[in-house]
Symmetry: C2
Subunit: 87 residues, 2 copies
């Protein structure tokens, strides 16, 4: 499978997103894009670190993007963290 | 001046850090490293976006690093955003 899985980090506990990532990798996605907006940017980075701690060298950080979007007239910051599972 | 200025984003209002960045660039630093830890990661990204909005093409995003450090026995996420003023 060459497609990319995606996780949008929201208000649920961090553990929920760790499970989501594990499911995506087990489904065969090699890459997962972690998205976070506004105050959830910090949680998106925490998710990356939690996965890195568990997966070690099996997880590669491919790219980190930051920027902003206009959402209903307001500027909202975002982060996109692209990770890849190494076999 | 070839050295790099640094801003550690903490609990002060975003506007304070915008002023800090302006001062560093005016002092002659071409590059400024924005650091944020834990919940302040989101504010570090907001700072980048606020500067980008003000400076436009005069500001270049050089690099974004994420990771974690152990601080007094706790794992703390960080972000490091390296920006450069273009003349």
């Amino acid at each position: 499978m060459s497609e990319r899985g995606e996780i949008s980090v929201g208000n649920r506990p961090l553990g929920d997103y760790i499970v989501s990532a594990a499911i995506l990798f087990n489904q065969g996605y090699r890459q997962v894009l972690i998205r976070g907006r506004g105050n959830n940017i910090s949680k998106a980075v925490a998710l990356y670190n939690a996965l890195k701690e568990r997966m070690g060298d099996a997880l590669k950080l491919v790219d980190v993007r930051i920027g902003s979007n206009e959402v209903r007239g307001r500027i909202v910051s975002f982060i996109e963290i692209l990770i890849e599972r190494i076999y």
